[in-house]
Amino acid sequence: MSSILPQLLTGLATASSLFLISAGLTIIFGVSRIVNFSHGSLMMLGAYIGWSILTRLPREPEWFALGILATALATALIGVVLEMAVLRRVYRSPELFQLLATFGVVLIIQDVTLLLWGPTELPLPRPRWLRGFVEVAGSRFPLYDLVLIAIGPLVLGLLWLALNRTRWGTLVRAATLDREMVAALGVDQRRLFTSVFALGAGLAGLGGALSLPNASANLGIDLSVIADAFVVVVVGGLGSLPGAFLASVLIGVLQAFGIVLVPKITLVLVFLVMAVVLVFRPNGLLGRPQTEAREATVAAPVVRPAPPALRLLGAAALALAVAAPFIVGGYYLTVLTDACVAILFAASLHFMMGPGGMASFGHAAWFGIGAYAAGLLLHWAGAPMPLGLLAAPVAAGIVSGLFGWFVVRLSGVYLAMLTLAFAQIAWAVSFQWVEVTGGDNGLLGVWPPDWARDPRPYYWMALALSVGVALLLRRALYAPYGYALRAARDSAPRARAIGLDVERLRIVALVIAGAACGLGGAIFAYGKGGVFPTYISIPHSVEALLMVLLGGLQTVAGPIIGALVYTGLADILVRSTDLWRLVLGAVIVVLVVAFPEGIAGAVRRLWLRGREA
């Protein structure tokens, strides 16, 4: 009994931080219909800015409070800049590109933070009053945690007042229900959106600064926090403030008890709870159904097989690729092997995202599961490479199928959020389960057998597998299954009305994409001789997205071109600058704003226009 209360209080303190971040996320979504992936980054900025301010102020409580508020204000200002510079330009873009744009911001903020504050963690020296304890039911409880517990409901109350007792709040609520109506009322929408974004950013900054005494400012905050916040918002119901509060308490308390009872699988536990909630309440605890209005508005161009000229070009490129080991060697052969893996990585993502219409921000999860399946089999059972190459797609396909079974009924944004959260959790498991996965050090000695140890035969094997699978994927897309999958994306109601099983089509697409991607992971693992948590990291998922975006969603050749261009560019970029995230992020944002259909899509459009003219 005595250990329950302190755990409960710890859970409630966590809940408050979760609420601060998810409240902003949910309000911004309500008004702008944009899921802000960079919200965790704003919280990270809050932590760093808070650190800079608080370490310069006197250490009395009133100065602490003042510093925290100043931090919230500063992040709100950053939010204003962000909204005016990026988000405002993508309100009318397709959902996927909005998500991508905010993703680009994540990368930019990563590098800017690194530049300004350096790579080391920055802990806040805690003054005496912050280290105080209070007796609660016979056990000592940190005073600061009690402060945090109080802040959650306080912020909820203030937000409620602002939303229900001010003219601004009335407008926000109206915009959440019906954007056109507010526009019709003659309200300056831009100012409304900017102010809402500023509020959300300010709340994130507040959360970041308040987290300092218990944690530190570090570069991992953004992604770990956004994954948690996505889980909270999905469980509570996107757009619902009380839902976000309820879910924060649920998840916070669950985490606190989970740490005590089943420390290793707390993350998995959280994910399972979310899965259960979604099975019974697909819109979250207090959420309303998401309209699928967008579905009909985006008219994708007709997909036709590539013209003969392009096929000829492809065949020539393939011949060149087969002959490559006789022309180049050493380092370039490794880059080419990486390119083969990239083709699998991108083509599999394209399969589910283009024709399947299911965006994933955590595609690296399947890559990593494949790599770990091969690595673990070798490490623990001494399984040879052919078995590993077989087990990888099977394992990744099964897990992505299970994942798909839970999420397939959800709308696009939910799916995108959950893929990211799932990948982040898979990453955390690989990182924390040291006994099995080797943790940060990874699994070493994952080498191919003797016949494939030389770079040349290994490259040929990788080429054969990746081109083979890419051709199989293409085949499936032009077969009845692929058409049906595309039909379900184009119009789910119409697809159902002609008897198509939309959910099953999508789950199978996830299985296929997961399996193909898992194979890529295994090829990569044997090529590098090891498996590491970075294979599952979010930046790796972003790479897959970028390849597909570069190539465009509308053509089957697109992801392959994207993979090749990206591998080349990334190789040059990583070798020439340390700030590759910054460059990459900026490239994403510019691409999204300038070419909403990708490079291949833009070329295709110009080509078609040229022919019809």
């Binding site: 009845p480 692929g482 039909a487 184009d490 119009s491 109601p493 002609i498």
Partner: protein, 250 residues
């Protein structure tokens, strides 16, 4: 023996009773028109028959088997084809491919991963397109079709399912008057030839009186009249709420 039989069907949204206690049936080859002012509950009724919405009360049977409670996909499999009030087609496909999709689904050839779909049932699809007058547009993208042609395409897609029952929610909206009559007379002919039962809604009264065998009038969710053209024209209740004697509505 009727194809479709609806018993005591009801549906509320929150506090709004969109449809309450509606019963009727449709025979093979029969054209049954469902009319009523905006918001009367016509689309809601269609969606309950088609499986898009689940009724709160009552039952729907097709050829004697209960289909209420089934989802739209299962209902389609039982032989129900439909068009939507807001057209729903596959935008990334050509006109012909849209119809091929319906035939592939009907012939259970969806779960095939090898042979190109474009090679399957092209002739059957063209035949259906010819019937609705779209054969010359077979190669075009659906995105560039005129609204009336989209409606025609939806009809061809619905026929690809070889339906026993055809649900058409405002099949002629957005068409010129002459086109409307032509399309509905085509439907009339198909219904007779193939013994398809047709339930349709339509705002154009000329079309309704021209092609419908029987007419149901729905007002605020409830059936207020049923009968053939002359009977409906003469019905005082219908005149009051629908044809707008006095109130000047429609």
């Amino acid at each position: 023996m009727s194809v479709l039989s609806v018993q005591g069907l009801g549906k509320s949204f929150g506090g709004v009773r969109a449809v309450s206690d509606v019963s009727f049936s449709v025979a093979p080859g029969e054209m049954l028109a469902l009319i009523g002012p905006n918001g009367a509950g016509k689309s809601t009724l269609f969606n309950m028959v088609g499986g898009q919405l689940q009724p709160d009360a009552g039952s729907v049977t097709l050829g004697g088997a209960t289909i209420s409670g089934l989802g739209p996909r299962a209902v389609a499999r039982q032989g129900v084809g439909r068009t939507f009030q807001i057209t729903a087609t596959f935008g990334s496909m050509t006109v012909r491919e849209n119809v091929q999709m319906a035939i592939l689904s009907h012939r259970r050839e969806i779960w095939r991963f090898w042979r190109p779909a474009a090679e399957r049932f092209g002739d059957e699809a063209d035949a259906l397109l010819a019937q609705v007058g779209l054969e010359v547009q077979a190669e075009r993208a659906t995105g560039v079709l005129a609204y009336g042609d989209l409606k025609r395409l939806e009809l061809a897609v619905a026929l690809g399912n070889a339906p026993r029952l055809l649900l058409m929610d405002e099949p002629t909206a957005g068409m010129a008057p002459a086109e409307r009559v032509a399309l509905m007379q085509l439907t009339r002919r198909l219904a007779t030839e193939r013994g398809i039962a047709v339930l349709f809604t339509e705002h154009d009264m000329d079309v309704v009186f021209d092609v419908a065998d029987r007419i149901l009038v729905l007002d605020r969710g409830a059936l207020i009249a049923e009968g053939d053209g002359p009977a409906i024209r003469a019905n005082p209740a219908v005149r009051a709420v629908y044809l707008g004697t006095g109130s000047g509505g429609h």
